[in-house]
């Protein structure tokens, strides 16, 4: 974990408002699936880092890939980066998905929208994962995912795969699995937790919150937990440090 100046190796637009950014960093080999980086704006009036998950890492090349949605001013600034540019980053941060523990199990990777990218590197670290991905309409990363892994698709407008959300696809396609790793909007995580509970499947969710320090010092980014957390001994755990991935049973997703 360190703050450094990363060099932009490549950047391309992969959907209307989705960018894929490849950065040369010193810590590519340390990155675990599901971890994220703090990416800093070059504009001094924007002080806080933007947390972005690692979509892929290439330890040999010393690069990592971030796939992000242009959501506001910070990400709009990152979208202008071209090869040769530099950007300040801090990472790798957070715990990541428990890939070692479940390597040989049948892991269902469930991604909703911009929650899909962090599951790509995760999938590459598992023996035989299966994907269930949900998009609004326009898809991205799909050729890479479906070209390598069994993939089930849902789109809200029904333009591809199951019409509806990713849970509809899981039910319709009767996907069988030992464990679920999920990343996406909170309502999706909530529904998955319920589904996993009903079917006695363990479920791990990657959560989001506004962040300031990104390293566990400010207590800005907490998630409600069902039991007292290890750091503050209350029921608020730090997403940036103790997460972003949690056993769904341990967090309150209501």
């Amino acid at each position: 974990m360190k703050k450094e100046t990363a060099h932009v190796a490549a950047q391309e637009r992969i959907a209307a408002d989705i960018m894929s950014l490849v950065l040369r960093v010193s810590f590519a080999e340390e990155v675990r699936p599901g971890q994220f980086l703090s990416v800093y704006s070059a504009d001094g009036s924007r002080l806080l880092p933007r947390p972005i998950s690692v979509c892929d890492a290439d330890p040999e090349e010393g690069t990592i890939r971030l796939v992000y949605r242009i959501a506001g001013k910070g990400t709009a600034e990152f979208a202008k980066l071209t090869p040769g540019c530099v950007v300040e980053v801090l990472g790798p941060l957070g715990n990541g998905f428990p890939v070692e523990e479940f390597k040989d199990k049948r892991v269902l990777l469930v991604g909703g929208g911009i929650g899909i990218p962090p599951l790509y590197y995760t999938a590459k670290s598992l023996r035989d994962p299966v994907f269930a991905v949900g998009y609004r309409s326009e898809t991205y990363l799909l050729p890479e995912i479906s070209g390598r892994f069994e993939t089930h698709i849902a789109t809200e407008d029904g333009s591809l795969g199951t019409k509806g959300n990713v849970l509809d696809a899981i039910r319709e396609d009767r996907i069988v699995c030992d464990v679920i790793f999920a990343c996406g909007p909170k309502p999706m995580l909530r529904a998955l937790k319920e589904y996993a509970g009903e079917n006695n499947i363990r479920c791990f969710v990657s959560m989001e919150e506004r962040m300031a320090c990104g390293i566990g010092a400010c207590l800005g980014c907490v998630a409600r937990t069902t039991k007292p957390d290890a750091h503050s001994h209350v029921k608020n755990t730090r997403i940036c440090k103790d997460g972003p991935v949690f056993d769904a049973e341990e967090v309150d997703l209501t």
Binding site: G216, A217, C221
Partner: protein
């Protein structure tokens, strides 16, 4: 050799740079980035007599050159702090200043008494948190309340007491004098300025607590002015903070009248910034041919750098 050490209420700090409470935890996280012994002091996150849950999320949002926070003083309570955090900090050659919070005088005193036989160098009493309903700010905006809580703390405290003042007052000099009359050994200011942001996409408050404390470079000019006013209203030393993000910023506070400075929000932008600031102050003194950092303290109101302007 340039002398960078400063003395606050009989406690000598190797340099005038410390961390602002709540932005640095108990130092564990930042200790992975640099050697905490390079700091004049570490000021801990506010500690209460029992664990506090803090506020609902979202707790933070970015604003131009700053941020709003309403953490609500989440902390594990004094028992965990003494068992886990204090031994960690004791490994470093730096001063330990524990920031104390409470909902009532009794709660503040419980923490102060518990720390009386602990290896803590100073206490900083937070009577200025805008994010907790009782306590905090309620004590910090009324001069009479400031004086009486200062007295109560001083009667029990075994370590020098720093009273942390709120900028959410009409006249900071009154608050400063009240703390001094109560027996405070030093003052620190400013805490955050109460602010609000509306998230227009959701059509509601950007942070769950509705209001939050504004910090970062956006508040710096206000903080410099208040440090100047407070330090000229009292005889006790003042620790200045509010938007310090570089050595130059820190030097402004020293020249305004602060004996030492705290670095807060800037840690979020660069985890090593506090050490860089300490180094930068030394380089500035060297460039100006000044042999002792204490020479620039309050120089702005005292005829400039060499006392000649």
């Amino acid at each position: 050799m340039i002398r960078t050490s400063v003395n606050i209420a009989g406690v000598s700090l190797k340099n005038p740079v410390m961390t602002a409470s709540g932005t640095f935890g108990s130092g564990m996280e930042y200790g992975e980035f640099f050697d905490l012994s390079k700091l004049g002091a570490v000021v801990t996150k506010g500690v209460a007599s029992v664990p506090w849950e803090g506020n609902p999320t979202p707790r933070i949002c970015e604003t131009p050159s700053g941020m709003l926070n309403a953490i609500g003083l989440q902390n594990p309570g004094i028992d965990v702090f003494v068992k886990r955090d204090l031994p960690f900090l004791q490994k470093y050659d730096t001063r330990i200043i524990v920031n104390v919070c409470g909902h009532s005088v009794e709660e503040y005193l419980a923490v102060v008494e518990r720390l009386s036989d602990c290896a803590v160098d100073m206490l900083e009493i937070n009577i200025s948190c805008p994010n907790v309903k009782e306590g905090g700010i309620a004590f910090g905006t009324d001069p009479k309340a400031i004086e009486s809580i200062t007295k109560a703390v001083k009667a029990k405290a075994k370590q020098p007491v720093i009273m942390k003042l709120s900028p959410n007052v009409t006249d900071i000099r009154e608050a400063a004098r009240a703390a001094e009359s109560g027996g405070a050994d030093a003052l620190s200011l400013i805490n955050t300025l109460t602010g609000m942001k509306i998230d227009i996409e959701r059509g509601t408050f950007a942070i769950a607590n509705r209001t939050g404390g504004l910090s970062g470079p956006a508040i710096r000019p206000v903080a410099v002015r208040m440090v100047y006013e407070a330090s000229h209203a009292v005889k006790i030393p003042v620790i200045g903070m509010g938007g310090i993000a570089s050595a130059e910023d820190a030097i402004e506070f020293l020249m305004a009248g602060a004996r030492a400075v705290s670095v807060g929000t800037a840690n979020f932008h660069d985890p090593c910034i506090s050490v860089k600031i300490a180094d930068g102050i030394e380089k500035f003194l060297e460039r100006k041919g000044i042999g002792d950092v204490n020479e620039i303290v309050g120089c702005a109101g005292n005829g400039g750098i060499y006392g000649t302007v």
